[in-house]
Symmetry: C2
Subunit: 325 residues, 2 copies
Amino acid sequence: MHILITGAAGMIGRKLVARLVKDGQLNGQKIDHLSLIDVVAPEKPAGFTGAIEASTSDLSNPGAAAKAIAKKPDVIFHLAGVVSGEAEIDFEKGYRVNLDGTRALLEAIRAADQKPKVIFTSSVAVYGAPFSNSIADDFQLTPLTSYGTQKAICELLLADYTRRGFLEGVGIRLPTICVRPGKPNKAASGFFSGIIREPLAGQEALLPVSDAVRHTHASPRAAVGFLIHAAGLTRAQLGPRINLAMPGVSCTVGEQVDALRRVAGEKVAARIRREPDELVQRIVAGWAERLDAKRARDLGFKAEATFDDIIRAHIEDELGGKIVA
Amino acid sequence: MHILITGAAGMIGRKLVARLVKDGQLNGQKIDHLSLIDVVAPEKPAGFTGAIEASTSDLSNPGAAAKAIAKKPDVIFHLAGVVSGEAEIDFEKGYRVNLDGTRALLEAIRAADQKPKVIFTSSVAVYGAPFSNSIADDFQLTPLTSYGTQKAICELLLADYTRRGFLEGVGIRLPTICVRPGKPNKAASGFFSGIIREPLAGQEALLPVSDAVRHTHASPRAAVGFLIHAAGLTRAQLGPRINLAMPGVSCTVGEQVDALRRVAGEKVAARIRREPDELVQRIVAGWAERLDAKRARDLGFKAEATFDDIIRAHIEDELGGKIVA
């Protein structure tokens, strides 16, 4: 089996590559060929015995998409894209990379007539306030960012290309990924990870919103699990509605802090400093608090059961089991 | 006021032009300039005293959109597009005209920095079965045709360009337009008009589905009214969700026939011949039967109250008040 991963140098991309190399198979078939592309050079993983190519490519450039699929991948994990904040700041870049890049990939697939599976990472940013208390699977997409708009458009394209028989698509709407490894970033959602990651590493973290703010999270490990699981679904299981909201742990910030205290102790939890930030509060107030994700759960997608589990996954996967107590 | 109409040679386009010329004003402002474009040459209406241009243009051709808006229209009615059947048969043409043409128009508007009102005709084809009994305003868009996909994508673009302040958009999802004037066509929905139009003209009409089939209709006159009304709405009235399902008369085919009998007599209604067609039955079964259209009604959009009114509008507007009894 030949697998292509776009956005392979990103956080989820790297973890997906590592998981596929470790598993050695997908849907019961041996992986003998990996193609990794990204706008920055993806690293080749250690320990993979099959053919592997890692190349720098922007799918929105002419010919790039056709080249990316020239060796006929059976499964494509399409993760490439610019993130929410960047798509909002740079309107043209967001549409070029997130919409035109995806469309170029779909068009190249149509032209090549090879019908691969295409797993596309969408986002809960496709939803826009006002919301009902919990977002049902049939809730409309009225995004309030250009990023969310681009993801929603790509979902529609993926569904139409699937319906027409050009490929077999699955779109998965990822909740906020928490705990994100690495350095703090400027994303408005950054604190959801920061208030866990920094205290576990012995550092202070700022909490800009009230303890009552509710949000839905899944670990990077769960996100990789969603991608793998999506690749195993059949057309019959999916039916015509191939874009799915993923499950996650819905909890308040206060519950996140309580979980940190339970898992790592009072001293770690005390490293969170409350410093209200009105701008962040306003942005976060427009986000989905809870998703039913009933279809995804019924189809066997699994997120963590509790936020404690999300913290433990971070400690195992990123900190080698060690915390700075 | 300068008004641009794309798709001005189409059925709704011609009726909209005639109405604007008759009214002489829009939103209380005198219309002193009309620009009409279409892929076939639009006719210049009689009796308009202002400046008028009618030109042949395909917005998806390079430079066409910039040229179309070069004289800075205040209001743009964007009706241009290929119809459902054609977009399904010719995949590339559908995406080129319906998606790329619309995006080119929006991009030209963004580049020109002139913030016009843009009234876009979307369609109930943005919905795809399975449905609830009546489609609520917040129901998801899961189209089952490439045409519906293209309309849904354009709605998303229109909303994002509006949110970003590049223009002031309103998308109106038209129900099936009935009674369509002119000759019978091959559209699967054609019989909804045919069973009224042909008998009123003294001709036999075939009815391929059962009397129990339910569907939602609005007259061409009502559709023009929706467009005019949409142009008068303020951003504050619309809020962030600028794409609206339009109201219509939801009735069964049997109720259509009863209305024809009431309005035109038994002899006219007897010209309908039942000839079941399984293919048409299957296609129609995937269509929306009823739409809440609550937001549109609350915003003052008005359709006919009964199917009798729809028939009467046809007799007045197309037959000069005369029927072949």
